[in-house]
Symmetry: C2
Subunit: 150 residues, 2 copies
Amino acid sequence: MPRRLPTSEQLRTWRDFIETAEALRGVLAGRLQAETGLSPGDYAVLLTLSEATDRRLRPSDLAVVISWERSRLSHHLGRMERRGLIRREGYSGDSRGAFVILTDEGSAAFHAATVPHLTAVRELFVEALTPAQLDAVAGISAALRERIGR
Amino acid sequence: MPRRLPTSEQLRTWRDFIETAEALRGVLAGRLQAETGLSPGDYAVLLTLSEATDRRLRPSDLAVVISWERSRLSHHLGRMERRGLIRREGYSGDSRGAFVILTDEGSAAFHAATVPHLTAVRELFVEALTPAQLDAVAGISAALRERIGR
DNA sequence: CCATACTGATTGACGTGTCAACTAGCCTGA
DNA sequence: TCAGGCTAGTTGACACGTCAATCAGTATGG
């Protein structure tokens, strides 16, 4: 039996899904930016660093935690460093290594952002769905991740 | 009663959702690029033009159909024009106006891309989910869209 | 010992997005 | 009729992402 193509209804569902996720991401990002001056990427980096021992991590480790490519992280850290949110420092022990360190300014920005961000997630995502739908989302995400591998 | 923040489980669901959608988008985009040399944006533009009368549309109309900002479209059309996928032409009637026109090359690229793209959507999305999950996705997308307005 | 491979990290080029500013032409009302 | 505002479209600046190349330092096997 030949592999069939999606029906137009399935395609509609696909497009709605991907466009909705995209739109939601955009709205959340816009709010975060407007209310706190941080991008979602900034937030992820600051969150991870603020939970790390001594508020510092090696770039590779940080990249693994937030599932970014090292190159992406490097570019992003450059921008964050320019804004004073983090700083970089050499690592004595393996001179290839380095540390990304949360600055006080970065820490303050993160703490100022967390409640607005979580509130927005609640308003725009959690409260938009029924408990059953929230459960369904979890299962759907898992199934999709399973399919694309990891 | 104060507005509460999301529970850690709800937050986990949110992150899984947004990261999964992002990952899926990335995988699909990568495949499309590898197999056809087109980006999702290219595909959306080519699809819309190929369905339009005379394979041409005014930029503003095209932007409405695919829900892009005019500026985004203008930048994208510039890149597509450089690659010969579309061309631009003045519009006699309102000299502000313009037309975006599908070239033969653009049409060929689109037709070569459609089956691989639809196949990928089926494999990575439709077949990853049960029929019930697919239905749930439709409802969830609708609910989220409703919440963010439009 | 040292060529070679591997690892951590950065860089450059370029596609993609957003925002604000700008150009140019159309339209409307005092 | 013409000043102002509106509309179509483009542009520039800059953030963000990916890919391939590069660089420097570590490790290793012959």
